[in-house]
Each structure stands twice: as structure tokens, then as C-alpha cells.
Amino acid sequence: MKKSLIIVFSMVFVLLVFSQTVSAIPAFARKYGFNCNMCHVAFPKLNDFGQRFRDNGYQIPGQAGLEKTVFETAVPIALRTTAGYSIYGNGEGTASGFHLYGLDLLAAGVLHKNISFLFVYTPGLDEPAGNYKGKIPSQLASLESANVVFSNLIQDKLNLRVGRFEPGFQRLSSKRLFYILQPFEINKFAGTRNSFEFFANQIGIEATGRFNPGFKYALGYINGSGANPDRNRFNDLYLVLSKTFGRGEGQSAGQRIGVFGYLGRQPTDFTGSIISPVGDSNGSQDRTFTRLGGDISLNWRTFNLQATAFRGLDDKAFNDIDSARDYVFYGGVVQLDWAALADNRLVASLMYNWVHPSDEDRVHRIEAYSALLRYYLGSWSAVNVALHAEFTHRTVGSGSLAKENLFTFLLDFGF
């Protein structure tokens, strides 16, 4: 253990010493010459400018057509990786070790005025993904995002995103928040026979837009099967509405409140179903499920309190525990972030996750309390490195609780 800590601190020391001479550049920062904090409160969390930049199809707000396309800039490729040391403990013992928690390869840019793209690929690794909870200790290869954005079709009132993307109801994007090992617990929660994952990237088409003052919408039509081919003839539908009071987008200024609704259908029987050459099937006995909830983001100085909560209702066909009743659960996340020091070099955060299924499924009740500290070694347009310490105390079930603790110290590296 002592030896491990020496290695970690040696790595940090080397980075601190040589950090001023690093010269590589993440994709957008390389294009514009901006520092990370132009778009991020502190990477990867977007600030208001960054949110508008994303909403505008990765074009500077109000400047569509007045910037270079990918054909006029350096190759728009970036990567992000996290490596560090974890200590895990539960009632039965403690385990620890070094890990590379994941690797993302990103490419994004403007193809033509108001036409842009985003591509995120995670290669397969013999190491756990950042939010690893499964049985296979490896990051599976995945094309996380691959989409084209058609912006400003009717001014800023209509933009279309086509392909695999992060749906607009994910206002608290787990991909752009600070926590690396602690996922949103409601992320993968659903009825025992429902494979739907609320926070997974989805394949389909999404319309977004804004209306002054501060009103935004997102309307999506997607497979609802995450990265998998569609498994029924019906697509899922969602609608998100939000309103920001005051200046900003509610990311780092202004106060935002929103509601969302998701209507999905999943087949419960694949007997005799056909499978298309691209993997789609036409399972039968489709049953519906819904997610209805809201989110809020409050800002005061450099404090940001975000919360999202929803009610999940899955048809009784998804309920293995009591097949006579629909499966109902409630869940959510509350997160308080504080950006401190000049140029937001230090970030502190507290997060509470909960999932409360109905009484008959208390065994799946989850509570998780997390805290983190991140310190950024610099604010460059070339590269960014953050020292990241994260702790989570998690309980599962009720009555006889399964308790676990996870502490991680890592380097979050954007290049």
C-alpha cells in the first residue's frame, strides 16, 4: 500500500513539474485556441457558454457559418482517460488495486455551416469501465456516440440530431459531470424483465430548440434499446421541457426547472420473431413503460445544486416479483458542486443517489452517498489533467443492508 502511494504521488509530481510544457490539444480547444474553461465550469461539466455551444451544433453561439470546418483545421480528435487506485470494502473484506478506468476517443466538428458531428468510441479494455458494476472486469468496446446535427433549421427553434446520441432528457448528464466511479443509480434501473436503461445513449432522431425567454424543448423518437438493434416495431418517444429564469442556461448561471416524460415499449415475447440483416427483431407482446419526472438546477455564485427525480412505471409483464402488478419505482440524484480557487481549479462535490422500488422489491432499494475533490493542474487549451479523489458509501436493500465503500484516487486526463 505504501509503495502504491509512493508511485501515485511520484506520477503527480512528474505531471506538476512538466505540466507547463504540455502542448497537445483537445478537439474543440485546438480549433479555437480556447482554454477548457471557456466551455466548462471545469471539465467535463459544461458551463452556460458550453451548453449554448453544444445546443448550436458545436458552433460558437450566433456565429454559425463564420468559423472553420473540419476540413480547414487540424484533425479534430481528442481522448480522455482515467487511471488511478481504488480501495473497495464491504462487510466481508477489502480489495484494492491500480486501474485504467476507461478510455474515450472523441471526434467532433463542423462539416458545413449548421451541419456538425460527434463521434465517441470506447475501445475494449481489460480494465473496468468507470462505472463498472458488472461481472466482467473489462470495458467493452462501444460506439458511444455517432451523430450528425443539423442546426438552426428554423433559427434556433429547430435543430435535429440524428444517429446515436445522448437524449435531451438527460439534463444531468452523467457523461459531463464530475463523478467517475459512482454512476447515477437510476441509470440502469428498471423492472426486473425490462432491459431499458434510462441514461443510455440511444439511436434515433431528436428535435431541440429554444424560445425566448429561456424556454427549451427536446422531442425524441428513438429505438429505446440503447446500443442494441431495435427489438420491436415500435419506437419510443420522449419530450423534455425546461425553463431558465435569469441569465444563462442554468448550468453555471440562472435557475432552471424542467419536466420530462418518456413513453417506451418493449416486447416480452420473441417466439417466432424475425431478425433483419441489421439485427432488428419484431418481438411480440409489447408492453409499455413510462418515466415521468423533473429536474432543477440552482446557481449561486460558484455553487450549483442539481437534482433530478422521476417515477418509473413498467407494465406488470416486466415484473417478476408480482406479475399481477405494474412495477413502480422512484429514483433520483441530488448533487451540489462548488468550484473554488481562481479559474475554478478546485471542485468539491456531494452527491446523493436513491432508488426506491415498491415495497415488494425492497431488496433492490439503493442509497448512495458520494463526495469528491478535483484539482486541475492547469487551464490550458492544450490538455487538461485533474487529480480526482472520490468516495462513495452505498447501501442496497433494507433491513439487513449490504454496505459497501469505494475510495478512488485517480488522474483524469483530457488530451
Binding site: Y32, C36, M38, G65, H112, A253, D343
Partner: protein
């Protein structure tokens, strides 16, 4: 999937691409904000200024620059011999004036602040509203503006031509023939192209002198290019995108607001938008904004930190910044590090050719 459905799907993408790419406003005689300066696709990195090129067909010379400098400082170009270019674009005041707005002949006050002449050569369009596309075109304007120099081009030419020294110099520069307004403007513009600030602490820093900036100034640079969002508009070597933005500056006369760029383009998106000025030497020329409504760098940064003013056409780049006192102090320090150290720019008034007056 039926044939009709396939056709629908296949036709959607070209349609979307066409719609997205074809977001062009309707018929306008003057290009709107989004169509100017397309030759400089940005944002571009901040850094040292490149050399200034002469316009095609108008080669510069030391004699032309000298003539332009004499004209620039000569109040006889105005109707009552009291106002020169330098009266409002004073080298000692950062090539602007003490504001808040400029005063012309008979003490008349204009509605806007004097834009700086320093580094104006890098602006794709001149004036706060961009109504002049060159320094030459700009130079002609104030002479016959009733509030500024209050003259006519014809009377100004007669005045200049009657001064033997000018007559000789114009002949040497432009050859035989009567002096023209175009020649006067050409000479003044040639001089203005020499008013560039290529040396500042920032320039020395980016050229490799890592000690040129203090720790506070370096922090200010970091914030300028990041959390402060300054380079969203103040980008490139001249710290200006040359474009037009509505910052929500409160109108001094709400019943008769200054419409800015809209007066030229008639594009509603340009309502209340004004050209981004350079930040180089900005610390030398308070007050700030197009109407001089912010008295100091500190109050200007507070204005931006609030996300600008209120306006239905507020630029989407304007968002609250959340800067702390220390970060604001660092920004001010960095902006001061953009002050020119060029000895040739710290200019002195030339001796006008009065001794040759008829």
C-alpha cells in the same frame, strides 16, 4: 418498409442538409453581420500582430506616411480650424479621447465614443457600425460630419491646396494635378497603417520571454481565454473578431436608441450591435463601450460579469461569468499588459507646414 416510406426516408437527409446550410436572410443590399469578415474565419488564436499590408494599387512610402501624419494632426481640416483627427483619436489617450462620447466643432457632442485608431488597420470594417470598408473610406467621413469637423470636402481641399507645403508634398506623393479627397484620405490611411502596437508585455511573453508577465497577469491571460469568455469575441492577434455584437448596453435615450449595425444592414439581428474593439491599449483609453458608459476597466468587467445588460437582441455569447474579485483583478492586470511599448507609437505632434502658408 414500403417503397414510399423508403423514398421519404431517403429524401429527408438531403432536405435537412439543404435547410441547415441555406440559412441565409432575405434580400439585403448590405451584407448582414454574419456575412462580413468571412475571409477571417474564427475564432483565431491571440498572439503577436502580423505586418500590415498596403491596399492593392496604393503603395505606401515614407513621404506619404509623413503627409498623412501632418494631415491627421492638422485642425485646419475642420470648418473652424479647431478639430483635427487627433482631437478625438489622441495618441496620448490611447488613440481615442477622454469621452464618454466625442466632441466636435463648437463643442458639439456625438452619440458614440471615438474608436481607437491604433490597430484600426486590422479591422475589416471601420466605425462602430462598420459603415466604412476601409481606412480611406473612414477618413473621409468625419471631415464632413456636421458634429465632428463640420466641413465640406470641397472647402477642406481648398484649405489644404492653399497651403504651399501641402501642395508640394501632395505633388511629390501623387504627382501633378489637383489635390483630391481620395488623396487626403489615402495619405491619412497610410499614416494610420503605421499606428500598430506590436510590442507589449503580452507579445514578449508569447514570443518566449516567460518572465514578461507576472503571475497575476498570467492568471489574467488564463481567465481572458477561458472562464472570462473574453476571447469569444476578442480573438486573434488584434483581440477583436471585427464583428458586431449586442451587449445590452442601456440606451441613453430609450425613445431614440442607437441601433448600431442595424442602421447599415437593416438586419434585425444587428439591432443594437456594435463592432468589437481591440483590447490592445484598452487600459489607456477609458471610458468603455460604444457610448463610454463604463468608466473603468473594473466597472467594464463587472458589466460583463453580470452577463451584460438587458436587451431582447442580446448576443448569445453574453452569459454571467461568475468571476471572483481576484479573477477580476487578474483580468485587469492582463489587459494592462496589452499596453503598447512601441516607442514609435508614443507619438508627438508633427510640425505642420504653416511656414509655407500663403
Amino acid at each position: 418498409m414500403g417503397r414510399r416510406r423508403w423514398l421519404m426516408v431517403m429524401s429527408v437527409f438531403p432536405l435537412l442538409a439543404g435547410l441547415a446550410a441555406a440559412q441565409t436572410p432575405g434580400k439585403e443590399k448590405v451584407p448582414p453581420m454574419t456575412h462580413v469578415n468571412v475571409q477571417v474565419l474564427g475564432p483565431q488564436r491571440i498572439g503577436p500582430l502580423p505586418p500590415v499590408d498596403s491596399p492593392p494599387g496604393s503603395p505606401t512610402s515614407s513621404l506619404k506616411i509623413h503627409l498623412g501624419k501632418e494631415l491627421y494632426f492638422d485642425p485646419r481640416l475642420s470648418a473652424d480650424n479647431t478639430v483635427s483627427c487627433a482631437s478625438c483619436h489622441n495618441p496620448a489617450l490611447g488613440w481615442s479621447d477622454s469621452g464618454p462620447t466625442s466632441s466636435g466643432i463648437h463643442g458639439q457632442l456625438g452619440g458614440r465614443r471615438s474608436p481607437p485608431v491604433s490597430n484600426a488597420a486590422y479591422n475589416p470594417l471601420q466605425f462602430w457600425d462598420g459603415r466604412a470598408s476601409s481606412l480611406e473610406e473612414q477618413a473621409k467621413g468625419p471631415i464632413q460630419n456636421p458634429i465632428e469637423m463640420g466641413n465640406t470636402h470641397k472647402a477642406m481641399i481648398k484649405t489644404v491646396a492653399d497651403i504651399r507645403g501641402y501642395a508640394m508634398e501632395f505633388k511629390a506623393v501623387y504627382g501633378e494635378g489637383p489635390i483630391t479627397v481620395q488623396q487626403v484620405a489615402d495619405a491619412i490611411a497610410a499614416f494610420e497603417r503605421t499606428v500598430v502596437t506590436t510590442d507589449s508585455l503580452f507579445d514578449r511573453f508569447v514570443r518566449g520571454d516567460r518572465q514578461a508577465l507576472t503571475a497575476l497577469e498570467r492568471k489574467g491571460l488564463e481567465i481572458f481565454n477561458g472562464k472570462g469568455h473574453c476571447t469569444a469575441c476578442h480573438w486573434g492577434p488584434n483581440f477583436s473578431d471585427g464583428r458586431f455584437h449586442n451587449l445590452g448596453v442601456p440606451a441613453k435615450d430609450p425613445k431614440n436608441p442607437d441601433v448600431g449595425r442595424y442602421a447599415i444592414t437593416k438586419n434585425p439581428r444587428d439591432m443594437g450591435a456594435f463592432k468589437t474593439p481591440t483590447v490592445r491599449d484598452a487600459a489607456l483609453r477609458p471610458p468603455y463601450l460604444h457610448d463610454g458608459s463604463e468608466r473603468s476597466l473594473e466597472s467594464l468587467i463587472d458589466f460583463y460579469n453580470r452577463g451584460g445588460g438587458k436587451d431582447p437582441n442580446l448576443d448569445p455569447l453574453m452569459v454571467p461569468l461568475g468571476l471572483s474579485q481576484h479573477e477580476k483583478k487578474a483580468l485587469v492586470a492582463f489587459i494592462k499588459a496589452l499596453n503598447s511599448l512601441n516607442p514609435e507609437v508614443a507619438d508627438v505632434k508633427p510640425i505642420a507646414p504653416d511656414h509655407l502658408h500663403k
